[in-house]
Symmetry: C2
Subunit: 208 residues, 2 copies
Amino acid sequence: MSPSEPQSPPPRRRGRPPRAEAGDGPGARERIAAAARAEFAERGYDGASIRAIAKGAGVDPALVHHYFGPKERVFAAAVELDFAPALAAPGVLLEGGPQDVGERLTRFVLGVWEDPATREQLRAIVRSAVANEAAATVFRELVTERLMLPVAGRLGVPDARLRAELAAAQLVGVAMLRHVIKVEPLASVDFEDVVARAAAAVQAHLTG
Amino acid sequence: MSPSEPQSPPPRRRGRPPRAEAGDGPGARERIAAAARAEFAERGYDGASIRAIAKGAGVDPALVHHYFGPKERVFAAAVELDFAPALAAPGVLLEGGPQDVGERLTRFVLGVWEDPATREQLRAIVRSAVANEAAATVFRELVTERLMLPVAGRLGVPDARLRAELAAAQLVGVAMLRHVIKVEPLASVDFEDVVARAAAAVQAHLTG
């Protein structure tokens, strides 16, 4: 703010804590997001509490609201931790040309699920998204708006949005049957085999 | 049992009620299944109670166990009501030849979801299946063992089971994004458009 502007207070932001709020400081935002991730994974969207997240991060509950806003945005921040690399640079998924985008997108999305460290978080996201409307909105924004659509949008095809969603449907379905419902042999079959078969469908949706 | 065998009592079946159990009689089984369907749809797998199902059917709770066994079998019976036509005759889905099986399977599965009368039940099944292991097993048996695999098995392709599951994944994903997560435009786009696009992927998985 320049010195010539009126000295009115900044717009009031609900829940904004005083500067000396307990637990604030460098890294507080990251600690809160990590604590939120653990809490949502353990209790699901409806069961998770802002108080428990604050406790896990060693901060005052007001600070959680200060950094992230209402519960669904805390959830969004937690979920983003798992998708951060791809969300930061969807263009990377297009390097190598549009003819391989299905394979790269499939490998990335299903690869996140293969990692035991993130799998539980992702299971929690899916459970939350099918049980709760606010969590479903977060899931929707993340998977389609920020991941699939930016990729599809660069392909220059008609109906990019619908194509992206049908491709996402294939990946969501594979993740569900392989990792949540655990259908055999899909649950145990080699990762490369799954990627090859799912990628063909994803590619056909995107550019077929 | 032949008269020469020892006159031991028949194997005891836990929960078998006396013949004059309250509410038993013609149609009791169907009334229980219908009440179970409503109860699971309203409360999900974990929240549903055998007592409430019995009350809804106007029978003694012991009769529910008598006809269906433990809770997961009651759930299976409730779920089957929605899929009964296809489960009764998977061969019907192959009439017209293997080149159209993707289209017929897609139209049937997604068509069940289009009907507002069954949609809520199906949403409840998905919610239950992602939240509860026993419900997931029922979902798995129904969708893959009894619907997709019998169809794929008649196609004479290698890896019929894995192909059936990847096709099922496409349909499960579309149902989730269209009807549970409600991603736009997929949630609102014309049914025939969805069928055409999803069917191409299902057909490729099954016979490609």
